[in-house]
């Protein structure tokens, strides 16, 4: 198999394809390339194709496969037939590019100065570095539409807060370890909050509901001026 993954079982109704155990961008690109290829003619019994950093879950409908003597064996056979072809090359990966305006610091980015101190740079330099990088949406998880973005300047990495905040505002841009991300909805959260965007990341009534999809790329643009409407 050219795509190079190991197959594990994730309970009774999902297979987990493992490309590796790390957070590197090249592995993640392979995950998204295969996810996109498998999604192109997805059988009805394949309910979900769920990418993560270095793994891809295939979740199946056990009722639709009730006639199969072993449902997950049927999935393995389908996958082997699909993966025998020349699919899942990283250059096949789709992905749109997004510019996300962010107001850094102040009440909207209460941890900006702490993160800058932790990195040994001044807040202006932190903003410059955070907006300079192009990030990949490695996966969406934790909450609906929450993007885990990889590609951050390693010097900006900072552990999560010891005690998570009980109330993080919607649109908050945070740093959690080596990753950066955006909270789509108000709620509890443990990441270091450095700014906020007015862009709506997730709206279940919108099509598509999530602004960012796995495999997309993102850049942050510093925004100055009056604060936008609060959500």
């Amino acid at each position: 198999m050219s795509t190079g993954f190991a197959i594990e079982e994730l309970g009774e109704n999902a297979l987990l394809l493992r490309f590796g155990d790390s957070l590197d961008a090249a592995t993640n690109a392979r995950v998204h390339a295969l996810a996109a290829d498998l999604a192109r003619d997805r059988p009805d019994w394949l309910l979900d194709i769920v990418p993560a950093f270095a793994t891809l879950a295939l979740c199946v409908d056990l009722e639709a496969l009730a006639g199969a003597s072993e449902p997950l064996a049927a999935v393995r056979r389908w996958l082997a037939a699909r993966a025998a072809g020349d699919i899942g090359k990283p250059q096949d990966a789709p992905g749109r590019h997004h510019l996300i305006p962010v107001r850094y610091g102040g009440s909207e980015g209460p941890d900006l100065e702490a993160v800058a101190r932790h990195a040994g740079i001044d807040p202006g330099e932190l903003i410059r570095r955070h907006t300079h990088a192009t990030y990949r949406v490695a996966m969406l998880g934790f909450a609906a539409g929450f993007p885990y973005l990889i590609g951050m300047d390693p010097q900006l990495a900072m552990p999560r807060r010891d005690t998570p905040r009980t109330d993080v505002a919607a649109g908050s841009v945070g740093i959690g370890g080596a990753q950066t991300g955006i909270y789509p909805r108000r709620g509890p959260g443990g990441w270091q909050i450095i700014g906020r965007t007015g862009v709506e990341l997730f709206d279940a009534m919108r099509d598509p509901p999530a602004l960012l999809e796995p495999g997309d790329s993102v850049r942050f643009v510093p925004e100055t001026g009056p604060t936008g409407p609060q959500r």
Binding site: P51, L140, F146
Partner: protein, 323 residues
């Protein structure tokens, strides 16, 4: 036809079989925690299997029906009365117009299901009528029912007499649901091994009060991993048993997040999800090892019992239809 919520109960939500196809966007499945009881409730009133039902958690709502309605209550044993006449579960009940259905405490089990013939007329969001409490969408504005809410009911095929009638025939949920303590649930091995593999299966686990639709928090012997290193976040599923650093496992349920970074030590089998839904804070749970072949056989057995029940339900019309 509609239902007025007079009082809401502890956490009363609209649920169907769940929301699929959006896990890659971080959207969990939601849906009924006990797919067995909710399915039978729907079949008893003549609904399609995927119709939305009301899921009641521990303490039930009081509801008023504007018109005659056919209902069924399945799942937990719940105190129920209609216009002060006691109502049994697992059977068809016809209510006259204006009836007040009072649902009290769950005596055994944690989740009861109310199906109404015709089903709830609620627009699906992302393909499902299930309430996503964490995401705040689906069902009734993504929240639990509140006093004053009005739920529209779709027209049913049945022509109902405007009278109170309790069918004398009922469905026996055993052995799928027996409420015997400690509850026994079978699990498949997970990716991450424990230092002492028998520890998970040897003792009893108590359900912590902080449990909810997202997961059951289990209290018991402190578990340790064979390899305690850090993990990268990976997809998880309802049924996955995670082990946080405190050594007390969390068994994920329908509202689980889509990805998790905690080690995955086991997976509850699909056939036992109804039993997990019925666990109350303080209840005891035993986790028994299971093979994939046994898990599949148990699910096949369940399907056969459900098929036989469906035939029994269809062949015996309710008395109101005989007249």
């Amino acid at each position: 036809m509609s239902v007025l919520v007079i009082s809401a109960g502890l956490q009363t939500t609209i649920q169907d079989r769940g929301r699929f196809g959006y896990r890659h966007l971080g959207v969990g499945s939601a849906g009924v925690l006990d797919p067995f009881s909710s399915l039978i409730a729907n079949r008893l009133v003549g609904n399609a299997d995927g119709a939305a039902v009301i899921e009641i958690c521990l303490g039930g709502p009081t509801l008023q029906f504007t018109e005659a309605a056919r209902i069924a209550l399945c799942g937990a044993q719940i105190e129920a009365s209609a216009n002060d006449r006691e109502l049994p579960g697992w059977r068809r009940v016809d209510l006259a117009e204006g009836s007040v259905l009072k649902l009290g405490a769950c005596r055994r089990g944690a989740r009861a299901y109310l199906a109404v013939a015709g089903g709830f007329d609620i627009a699906p969001v992302l393909g499902s009528r299930s309430t996503d409490l964490r995401g705040g969408f689906g069902g009734l504005d993504g929240r639990a029912l509140a006093a004053g809410d009005v739920l529209a009911i779709k027209a049913s095929d049945h022509r109902l007499q405007n009278r109170f009638e309790v069918d004398r025939r009922w469905i026996d949920p055993a052995p799928d649901l027996d409420f015997i303590q400690p509850t026994e649930v079978r699990v498949l091995a997970g990716r991450d091994a424990l230092r002492e593999s028998q520890q998970l299966h040897a003792g009893e686990w108590q359900i912590d009060a902080a449990s909810n639709r997202q997961g059951l928090r289990l209290q018991g012997p402190r578990l340790a991993l064979a390899d305690p290193g850090e993990r990268v976040s990976e997809p998880v599923m309802p049924g996955t048993l995670q082990l946080p650093p405190d050594g007390q496992p969390i068994l994920l349920l329908a509202d689980a997040q889509t990805h998790g970074g905690y080690p995955r030590i086991a997976h509850a089998i699909a056939a036992d999800l109804p039993r997990l839904a019925q666990l109350r804070p303080g209840d005891c749970l035993r986790l028994l090892p299971c093979t994939r072949a046994d898990a599949q056989r148990l699910l096949d057995d369940r399907r056969q019992r459900l098929a036989r029940m469906a035939i029994a339900i269809d062949q015996v019309p309710a008395r109101s239809e005989l007249r």
